[in-house]
């Protein structure tokens, strides 16, 4: 098994006096797709947002350590900008910026001050190929990104994240608003991406977790119920709650 790139040790999170996460301990290894499932309000997205330091609420208190690529993302002296260049994120609803496809792709590089045309073009192509979108848009990179279909927009968002060649890609229910074919395309892209990157996939679609992840965790009301190999968790879950959730008895 590859070395861990994300290590949560006893991570607790309180926002405005409310417990969001309680003593989460888990490891996410390099080049795997790690799934986080569970009913909404369970702390999945909050955990994801701690990883790239974008959790925002008033009066946030954290405990424990969350090592991301060797650095504690919960410590005070973390540099969020340099962290986010290595740990990119894609949201549930595709957010394309009101510019051309190309400018969307290179936005992350431009704000780093990269100007070289060939560097930008290579990054754009790399991102599009990673998100399996290259063939569809290669001849209209200068067209407005808003003209793309919903599924294409979401793949563009993945491509935009991948253009920065991050080590880790965080996905927050990336297919929740998409049709089955677009979902299939994105899942195919993810399987390809894990060869070089680590992916954390939050989803409340258990079937998707079963289809694409190598290992996964089940979050319920801020608690980590169970974590392990996806195949064994879906066949012989250790906890009754996991079994109930996977079987669709609640959530």
């Amino acid at each position: 098994m590859q070395p861990p790139v994300i290590e949560a040790e006893n991570v607790s999170l309180k926002a405005a006096g409310k417990n969001v996460l309680n003593h989460i301990t888990l490891k996410i290894h390099q080049n795997e797709i790690f799934g986080i499932m569970g009913p909404s309000g369970g702390g999945k997205t909050s955990f994801l947002r701690l990883i790239n330091h974008t959790f925002r609420a008033q009066k946030v208190e954290t405990e424990g350590h969350l090592f991301v690529l060797g650095k504690d993302a919960l410590s005070e002296d973390i540099n969020p900008t340099s962290l986010r260049r290595k740990v990119s994120m894609v949201f549930a609803t595709p957010v394309v910026l009101p510019m051309s496809i190309f400018e969307n792709l290179v936005y992350g590089l431009r704000i780093q001050g990269i100007k070289g045309k060939s560097t930008l073009q290579m990054a754009a192509e790399r991102g599009l190929k990673a998100a399996i979108l290259w063939e569809e848009v290669r001849d209209r990179l200068d067209k407005p990104a808003r003209k793309l279909s919903g599924g294409q927009q979401q793949r563009l968002c993945i491509a935009r994240a991948m253009a920065m060649s991050p080590d880790i890609l965080l996905l927050d229910e990336p297919t929740s608003g998409l049709d089955p074919i677009s979902t299939f395309r994105i899942e195919e892209a993810l399987k390809e991406l894990k060869k070089k990157h680590t992916i954390v996939l939050v989803s409340n679609n258990t079937k998707q977790i079963a289809r694409v992840t190598d290992r996964c965790a089940f979050f319920l009301m801020g608690e980590l119920v169970e974590t392990g190999e996806t195949s064994s968790m879906f066949t012989v879950p250790r906890e009754k709650k996991t079994d109930d959730y996977i079987a669709g008895r609640f959530g």
Binding site: N52, T54, Q58, T81, S82, R84, R85, S88, M89, F91, T93, V95, L97, P98, Y107, G108, R110, I111, Q112, R160, A161, M164
Partner: protein, 276 residues
């Protein structure tokens, strides 16, 4: 009275009220156009006033007006847009934002004659700028500041939060998000506010008469005095110098304001359309 009848009467009153408001506008414009238009010639626009405005044109007052507006915008836009950015992007809604907002509301409520007197005492006398484009520009900037803050704030708030989130997760700083995503997308709305405030500033007399002065010479330096079109109209009409020239000046003024308002509505319309 039956409800149906009451309905008819209320509707009738409201419709006549709306038409009355429109009729007043048309009446004012018609009077000014009828009395002013025949006197507007290219010479009237391009000659300087002579004999206190009895003869000649209004060229120097046009220059003064434009000069004054440019100076006040140079001051008010960075200040107003900066305040709006601070209020929307850099603070959490709380005491400070409430105080700043309340302050700008109060500023908007200060009568312009008071602002004029304030500008006269502070800039013209205390700071020794004299009656000048500078004194007038700063005073007018104070007057239009609330409009610019308010409209810029609305425009900035209309930029989707998700754009800022994307900027953040891609490793952008807040300022990069503001300059690369928020301001470009808010620009049409901000521009609308700027044009509206130009419309207010162009017709302002009370502030201007106290701070820019009434000199009929064409101002060159920002320390020169001048006379804006609105002030020129006020003086030659009130002192009965030349009613013909007063109406002609008024016609030019009304044309400018009308043009600016129509243009800003057009921009606002396009802005709203682009958002949906």
């Amino acid at each position: 009275m039956t409800p149906r009848r009451a309905e008819h009467i209320a509707l009738g009153l409201m419709i006549s009220g709306a038409f009355l408001a429109l009729a007043i506008l048309f009446f004012i414009i018609a009077v000014i156009m009828i009395k002013g238009l025949p006197h507007i010639t290219t010479r009237f626009l391009l000659d300087n006033p002579m004999d206190m405005g009895r003869a000649g044109g209004i060229f120097s007052t046009i220059v003064s007006t434009v000069y004054l507006l440019i100076v006040s915008l140079i001051i008010a836009i960075p200040l107003g847009v900066g305040t709006a950015i601070y209020l929307t992007e850099y603070t959490v809604e709380g005491k400070i934002t409430k105080i700043v907002r309340f302050g700008t509301e109060c500023l908007a409520g200060v009568p312009s004659i008071i602002l004029g007197l304030f500008g006269f005492i502070l800039f013209v006398i205390k700071l020794g700028f004299g009656w000048s484009v500078l004194s007038g520009g700063i005073s007018l900037a104070i007057m239009i500041l609330p409009v610019i803050i308010r409209t810029s704030e609305e425009a900035i708030k209309a930029v989707p939060q998700s754009f800022r989130d994307v900027n953040e997760v891609l490793g952008g700083s807040k300022w990069q998000g503001v300059t690369r995503l928020v301001l470009p997308n808010a620009a049409p709305g901000i521009l609308t506010g700027v044009i509206l405030s130009v419309g207010r500033g162009i017709g302002e007399t009370a502030v201007v008469i106290f701070t820019l002065g009434t000199s009929l010479r064409t101002p060159f330096s920002i320390f020169d005095s001048g006379r804006s079109m609105a002030v020129h109209f006020y003086i030659i009409a009130r002192e009965g110098i030349s009613m013909a020239n007063a109406y002609a000046t008024a016609a030019v003024l009304v044309f400018s304001i009308l043009f600016i308002n129509i243009f800003s509505y057009y921009l606002m319309h396009r802005f709203v359309k682009g958002r949906t």
